[in-house]
Each structure stands twice: as C-alpha cells, then as structure tokens.
C-alpha cells in the first residue's frame, strides 16, 4: 500500500484535448501494485491513448478478470463504467456489454493467466466473434499474485527466480489470434510508450477485436537473470520492425518525412494507420506472411513488436448478427422482447 497521496494542489496548466480535458481527467486511484510494475505503464499508456483520442471518459467501459493486471482498470478513467468479472470471463462480459451498448468504447485489461490459462476459451470465442473492443494482455509470463509460478506464456527454458527452468511451450497470443481469424494483432512493451500509445490508439479506433499483447515485466518475480520477460531481456531481444502511427479522423496528417516504404490502412472510424515495415515486403494484411514472420522471429528468440496484423474487412459481431443500429439498451422492452407469441412462431420454423 502506498502511504503518499497524490498531491491535491492545483497544478500548472496541462495540455487539453479536443474535449478540453487534461490527462488528469482520465486518471484513476493510486496504484496498489508493486512499485515498478510494468502494468502501471500499461495503465499510463491507456490513459494517454484515451486522452489523445478525445474519447469522453464516461463513454468507456473498462473490464477485467482476476489477477494483478486485472486490478489496473481501477487506476485509470474513474468516470468510466467498470466490471471485474470472474477469473477468465472478462471476454464474455465484455461481449455482452458491447452487444447491449454499441456506443461504448470497450477496454478490457487482462493478464497472461486470466487470458491464456483459465480464460483461453473465452478469449478465443471473443476473437472469433470479432467483438469491437480493445483487449490488452499485460503479459509477464508469471503468476505474480500467487508468488511467481510460470504462466502459460512463459518461454521454454525461461528460469524462475529460484532458477527452475520452465519446460512447457508458451501460448503466443499473436499466433493464437492469427489462427482464430483475429482482425487486429499488436505487441508492445510496457517500457516503450512511444510505440505502445500509438498501438493502443489504433486498437481503440479498430472496427473489431483489437488484441494487444504487452510484455509487462513483473519486477517482483520475473525481472531477474534467466527470465525472458525482464526489462533487460526484452530490451536486448526486441525487434521493433513494424512501426505504426495512427492518424485520428480529426487530427492533422503527419508531414514529417519517414524513410522506407509506407503502407496506409484506413480504420473503421475513418482514421488511418501508417505502417513502416523494415523487413522487405512485410505486409500487415497478409495473414500467411505475418504468421511465418512471427514463427521465424520466435524461433530466433526474438520478440517481434509493433502493429503486426490488421484486417479491416471482416465484419464485427454486430454486423454478423445484423443487429439494429440503435443501442439495444435504448430499445423499449416491447421491441427488445417481442413476446411469447413471436417466440412460438420462431420456434415453429425450426421444428
């Protein structure tokens, strides 16, 4: 627990976004995670992205499951609606929220345990449904809350703090997503907000399920020699090949010169992502090539980061279900529930 309070004195004028709000208007309560936890940087990046896109704080739904990472929604955007679900069930609750109110900006924060172990099934089906949401996995390869056991994302050979090697293969959420038809896959590092914030902004503007895997070191149980998810290891093995910057719909277009080939992709809400890919011929919309790139870089022991895969053509959950443009929760009960006569008619069709 922290003993020092956030200063309550008025501070110097901070920069304001299009809504006239400062970054402080997107803050939450004081973090109670361990000092130096990567998750706090993820929180700060989410806050920065929401502020930068001028999303009204009250329009956000922030959801999580169980775990260290799942505590973080408490630490940003106090004006948002929030939901702490049962362990691993955040994706299901988020799907429900997105179904009921398509006007919400749904932000889910989960961890490698919550998403890749107990909640893997829920995550898989939310990806398949292409629920429109930003799904952040704060990935540290360890169960911090239960004192440092390997998680499902720990690499083979990665050592625990006591020196035991991990023997089981990791679940790579990027490859998993690719195999399930994910439409937005990105990986970032909590220690590099210059890259992470644009990724989160792109994810928030994406027209479907945006899965962002953030390597977020656990300072307590997984930041030692022999760990493959420590600050030092990630810095030494990170491949920052695929660079992306988002141009918001109403924002100015960047005019600064960028070397190398640029690929431009328009997002659902009209904003555009500019890719700068260093590997020759890397195409973030080519699922096969992206897959082989990911497998290859993992085999080399490298961590590919950036906006890795993007598909803006696949319809999202509402489009697939042909739901009304209105928010379901705005509909009067009579329209939402046509009554038992209609139900009987519908069932008769299936007999």
């Amino acid at each position: 627990m922290t003993s020092i309070a956030k200063p309550q004195i008025p501070l110097l004028p901070l920069e304001r976004n299009q809504l006239g709000l400062t970054i402080r208007d997107y803050s939450g309560s004081m973090s109670t995670l361990c000092a130096g936890c990567g998750h706090d940087s993820v929180t700060a990046a989410i806050q920065e992205a929401l502020w930068g896109l001028s999303i009204p704080p009250y329009q956000v739904a922030k959801l999580s499951g169980i775990g260290c990472s799942s505590k973080t929604p408490q630490y940003f955007d106090s004006a948002a609606v929030g939901f702490n679900s049962v362990h691993g069930r955040m994706a299901a609750v988020a799907s429900g929220a997105a179904a009921a109110n398509r006007g919400l900006v749904v932000v889910g924060v989960s961890g490698d345990g919550d998403s890749l172990s107990i909640g893997l099934g829920n995550l898989a089906h939310a990806i398949r449904r292409n629920v429109r949401m930003l799904y952040v996995i704060a990935n540290n390869g360890v169960y911090g809350l239960t004192k440092g056991q390997f998680s499902a994302s720990a690499d083979i050979g990665s050592r625990s703090r006591k020196g035991e090697p991990n023997l089981l293969p990791p679940v790579d959420p990027m490859l998993l997503g690719l195999s399930l038809g994910a439409t937005f896959l990105a990986r970032g590092f909590s220690g590099d907000k210059a890259q992470l914030v644009p990724i989160l902004k792109a994810g928030l503007s994406h027209g479907g399920f945006a899965l962002v895997d953030v390597i977020s070191p656990c300072v307590q149980f997984n930041d030692h020699e022999g760990s493959t998810k420590s600050f030092r290891y990630v810095r030494e093995h990170e491949l920052q090949d695929i660079d992306a910057d988002i141009i918001p719909v109403r924002g100015q277009i960047h005019s600064e010169q960028t070397p190398g080939s640029l690929t431009e992709v328009e997002l659902h809400d009209g904003s555009r992502v500019l890719f700068r890919a260093v590997p020759e011929g890397y195409d973030p919309t080519d699922r096969v090539r992206v897959g082989s790139y990911l497998v290859e870089s993992a085999r080399q022991g490298e961590i590919a980061t950036g906006l890795l895969y993007l598909d803006e053509t696949t319809p999202d959950m509402h489009q697939v279900s042909a739901t009304t443009e209105e928010r379901l929760w705005d509909l009067p009960f009579q329209r939402l529930c046509p009554g038992s006569a209609e139900l009987a008619k519908f069932q008769a069709r299936l007999r």
């Binding site: 627990m1 922290t2 003993s3 020092i4 309070a5 956030k6 200063p7 309550q8 004195i9 008025p10 501070l11 110097l12 901070l14 402080r24 973090s31 361990c34 000092a35 130096g36 936890c37 990567g38 706090d40 940087s41 929180t43 700060a44 909590s190 220690g191 907000k193 210059a194 644009p198 070191p217 300072v219 930041d223 600050f231 030092r232 810095r235 660079d243 910057d245 960047h254 600064e256 010169q257 960028t258 070397p259 700068r276």
Partner: protein
C-alpha cells in the same frame, strides 16, 4: 517515430553534479533567494511540530533578527516560493518567522555567548544598525573586542528610526539587539564619527562601516525654499526619525507624499496616525512600476490612504510664506512606461508634503585624500565578496556598502564582513572564503514510509488578522498586525511544498521501468536518448517542455540498460515523493538537503 530524425553533431550537456552544494540549494527557491540563505522549509517544519524555540534559533543562525525580520523583511523569499508558481500564492514565510519569534519558549541556551577569553583584537563599527550588530554577533563569541559608535541614543539604526513602531514594536527591537549588546559590546551612544582618518588612527585592528544610507533625496523644484519660518516640506526618512524619537507628533490635515517606495508607505501611514485625514501618495508612474511591496500598498490603502498615479510634481505653491499646495503635471505613459507626455496640470492643496523619493549614501566624514577609493561621489569601492574597501582592514556593509537595500542584505553583509575581519586579524587573505557544505539524508523509514508529509494544504494563503480600523490609530505605536494564531499557523505550515526534501537519483540502480514517469503528477521526468543538439532542444523534448530557464534541468549519468539518461525539470517538481514511492530499486530517494553555511571562525556545519 521519434527515432527517425537524422543524426547531427551533438553537444553533450554535462551530467549534473549534485555534489556541488549550490545545485540542490537552488532547488530550495526560498533559501536560494534569501540573501542570508535561511533554511526556510526546515523552520516551517519545526513550527509545524510546535518547536517554536528551535525554529527561532534556526532562523537566528542565519538572519540574526527573526522577530524584527518576521515583521519587516522585504521577503525576497516569497516571490521565489515554488507554491507561488503552483497556485499563485506563496507560503507566508515571513509571517511564520514571526510565529516562531512570538511563540518561542526560552531560547537562552541556544544564543551566542561571548568568549571567556578575549583574543586581543579590537574592531570598530560605525553605526549600530543591522550590519554592525551582525558583525558584533559573529565576532564577540570569538573573543574580539567590538566597539560600536552610534550617533543616536538608542541602537538599531534604520530599524528603529525608519520603521514605524506600529509595524515594529520597540520591545521586539530591544530584545533582539540586547542579545548581541549584552555579550559585552562596547557601544558608545551619542558619538558621531566625524573623521575616518582619526578613526583609522585609533589603533583598531579592523574598521567596519555600517552607517547606512542616511540622506533622503531632495526634490529641487520651484518654490522648494520659498517658505518663511517653519517648513512644511519634510524629507521622509528624517521625518520618520523625528517621529521615532518623539520630536514630531502631529501633521496637517491634508498631506501629500511624493514617491511610492516602502518609505512612502511608512510616511503615509504615520501621517494617518498624527492627525492626517486627506492623505495622498503621489506617483509619477503607473502602479505596476511602484517600488513599494504590494502588501505595504494594500496596508496603506486599507487605512484610507489614496494612491494617485501619473502625477509628476512641477512646483511647490507657497503663498504668504506658507506652503499651500503642489502643482502637478498629469502625464500619460507609453507601453512599458518609458516615455511620458504631459496632458494637463492640476493643483492639489495640502498642509504638509513629505518627500520619499529615495535615499543616498553620504560620507562627509570620510576624507577623500585617504587611499580609500570611491566609485561615485556617494559610494566607496567595496568588494562584493569580501566587503573590503581599498584600505586593507576597512570593511563596509548594509546600505553603506552599495546603496539602500534592506535589513536582510545588511545582515548578510555583516556575516561576510565578519568572516573577512576574522581572516584579516588572523593573517589569512580576506579572499580565502570558507566553503559551503551540504548533507543529504534519506527520509525513507520503511517500504512505504517517509519521515515527511507531502499532503499539502490545497487552500490559499492565510490572511493576517489586524487591529480593527476603529481602534488602530489610538496610539502611534499600536502594532497593527496581530500575528498568526494557532489555526492560521497550522494551515499555513502545511502549504509548504518541502522543497528541501530532494529527489535524489542513482542512475546505476535504474531499470527504466517508467514507474516514476507514469506516476509523476506534473510530468517533470523524462528518459531520453542523449542526442540533443543543445539545452534548448533538450528542454523542448521533455514530457512537459521546460520553459522556465531560471530553473535547472537535472541530467543523470547514462542508465545501465539503454544508455539513455533521466532528465528532470526542477521547475515543475512539487517534491511529492511519488517517484521514490513507486521506484522498485530505490534509484529515486527523497532526501533532506541541508546547506552548511560558514560564519566567521565557524566552518560550515550541518544539523
């Protein structure tokens, strides 16, 4: 995308040297701004703990007259206060100093004492004002025999003669001066030094001139000398002195004060107490160019004094040998108030005029054929560091040195002159100054426990209670300000931002987790690649651009993992300690900074 900029020739900015006492000292804005470098945050903390005596003694160590200064200081600390930059209202530092003085218990144990054995050296001081008294304060404990020559019958210099008793009661003045004189200072009242040559021949080992800037400026306009008999045109500082010694006890109904410095404020408020009813302070320039401190202007206006701007005196109107008014040019100023043009004239009738347009040094008693050089007809050549004139062993201080300043500068001059006198008498070159020292001590007490409070009081500055206006003018020496009570004191001490609790950074421990950067409420921290062109570019590239050039930028050594550097803008930091609280490796620590200040015969020590 930031890495895409082409690489250029780089001018490395040196890693900040925090071992230099002046680096962290400068971060403590109030202490840095104070000529005597009073440890303000610590004495405020002591007041908060109810340790008024300790707070008083901490003050006294550097500024010698806490009770006097707590009422009359020019407060260079307050415009510098960080709190002023944060929400516009500086901490009421000066008033808290008065609290320490008002509420102190017996502090006799901590006051200086004369040495038991004299060291055989004799020092002569001219004038018993704050500068000479400070010299005596510093030298008596070392065994010096100090003689002060004072032309008046009472000590204090301008503190007694020019500051009205309703601002500074005689009791406070007498008490603090007595501490010094009672060490056995040989003070000769009613003794005016009329010849420097004779003084030098009297065999003193050193001479200190602390005789002030005793001559009020004249306003030579038509009619100035046309009065017959008793004059109604007074020189401000002389007039105040006459009031202080009881020679003047009334003034006409209508009074005009020419000038808007602090002396003018004392003159108009004194007029109000001597029978003046229609009192106007006449200023040539617009209000933002006044010399008087804003609080002194407010005090005068509260007492019904009118402040009239853009009036330049043209002539004194004397009828039948008696002053009846002044004719003024009404002027308009351009932007910046550099040039004016006259737009009309106006006559304002009055019974008395008080001239308060500044004061000058005057040394009619210093023979100009001595090897004591002058830089102007009024000012002797005095070294700013050593306070020594061009005759070895002759020192100047206070207003006598460089013209009219204020009490706190006089005290600091006294301290420096005392060091020089001690050097001079011990055969050490006067330019050999003892060094300042520093100490940093961690405030960390446990995992998340700190021995200081960062929970600031968000409220505005506390108002000072004053004597009711209906009663205020009953007696000339009725002190107007009542001092802070316990409630105001408790609230005001919590407004301090603890600038002396420094953010100390150990680059080798940093793992660049960004925790400090994420939690910093003012975004004053940035980790950057050391590839900026110059300091301007560095300042522009920070998370929050560092626009206040008067405040330092801290640059760490290269961080172990990436070779980037931690940069901190000292201007924005509110010393809340969240960086240290959220740092997993204790690379950041909150450590109290203490400045060790050397005094004569006492090397710098902390604690």
């Amino acid at each position: 995308m930031a890495e895409l900029a082409p690489r250029r020739t780089l001018v490395p900015i040196p890693v900040t040297n925090v071992e230099d006492p002046s680096y962290f000292h400068k971060v403590v804005d109030c202490q840095w701004a104070c000529p005597a470098h009073t440890d303000v945050p610590q004495y405020i903390r002591l007041i908060g703990q109810g340790r008024y005596g300790d707070a008083y003694l901490l003050n006294r160590k550097s500024n010698v007259f806490p009770g006097i200064l707590g009422r009359t200081c020019d407060r260079p600390c307050e415009p510098a206060c960080r709190r002023g930059r944060v929400d516009g209202d500086a901490v009421a530092i000066c008033r808290l100093k008065r609290v320490a003085s008002d509420l102190r218990e017996d502090v006799g144990w901590g006051l200086p004492r004369a040495a038991e054995a004299r060291n055989g050296k004799r020092v002569a001081c001219v004038g018993a004002g704050p500068a000479s008294l400070t010299v005596a304060n510093d030298l008596m404990p070392l065994g010096y025999e100090v003689t002060i020559f004072e032309r008046q019958q009472l000590p204090g210099g301008l503190m007694r003669t020019n500051i009205p008793a309703f601002r500074l009661p005689a009791k406070v003045l007498d008490e603090e001066i007595a501490v010094i004189l009672d060490m056995g200072v040989d003070i000769r009242y009613g003794t005016e030094i009329s010849s420097m040559r004779e003084l030098l021949q009297m065999g003193y080992d050193a001479v200190f001139v602390g005789s002030g800037a005793p001559r009020g400026k004249e306003l030579e306009l038509p009619g100035r000398h046309d009065e017959v008999g008793e004059t109604h045109i007074h020189i401000g500082i002389d007039w105040l002195e006459s009031i202080a010694f009881g020679h003047v006890n009334k003034v006409g109904r209508r009074v005009l004060i020419i000038g808007v410095g602090n002396t003018a404020m004392d003159c108009c408020r004194s007029s109000r107490r001597l029978g003046g009813e229609d009192i106007r302070v006449m200023a040539r320039r617009p209000r933002q160019y006044f010399k008087a401190s804003p609080w002194e202007l407010e005090d005068a206006e509260e007492e019904g004094v009118q402040i009239v701007v853009n009036h330049a005196p043209r002539r004194f109107i004397v009828e039948d040998g008696r002053l009846v008014g002044i004719e003024f040019d009404q002027v308009e100023w351009d932007e910046g108030a550099v040039h004016s043009r006259t737009v009309g004239t106006v006559r304002i009738d009055c019974d008395d005029v008080i001239l308060a347009i500044g004061q000058e040094n005057a040394f009619p008693w210093i023979e100009r054929d001595l090897p004591l050089e002058f830089t102007s007809p009024q000012l002797a050549a005095v070294d700013e560091l050593t306070m020594q004139a061009t005759i070895p062993g002759v020192f100047f201080g206070g207003d006598a040195a460089f013209g009219a300043k204020n009490i706190i500068w006089a005290v600091e001059h006294g301290h420096q002159a005392a060091i020089s006198i001690h050097n001079h008498c011990q055969g050490v070159p006067v330019a050999e100054r003892p060094a300042q020292t520093m100490r940093l001590t961690s405030r960390k007490m446990g995992l998340t426990q700190w021995s200081y409070h960062n929970d600031y009081n968000p409220h505005g500055r506390q108002e000072m209670a004053r004597v009711d206006l209906r009663r205020r003018f009953e007696r000339l020496n009725l002190e107007v300000e009542l001092g802070f009570g316990p409630d105001e004191t408790a609230r005001e001490v919590q407004r301090c931002l603890n600038c002396d609790i420094q953010t100390e950074f150990q680059a080798p421990l940093c793992i660049e987790c960004d925790a400090c950067i994420d939690v910093c409420p003012v975004r004053c921290l940035t980790i950057v690649r050391p590839d900026w062109a110059d300091e301007d570019e560095l300042r522009a590239r920070l998370n929050a651009p560092a626009e206040n050039r008067s405040q330092a930028i801290y640059v760490s050594e290269a961080l172990p993992q990436t070779g980037r550097v931690m940069v901190k803008d000292e201007n924005l930091c509110v010393h809340c300690g969240l960086c240290a609280e959220r740092c997993p490796t204790a690379a950041w620590d909150m450590a109290r900074f203490e400045l060790g200040i050397p005094y004569a015969g006492r090397p710098a020590e902390v604690g």
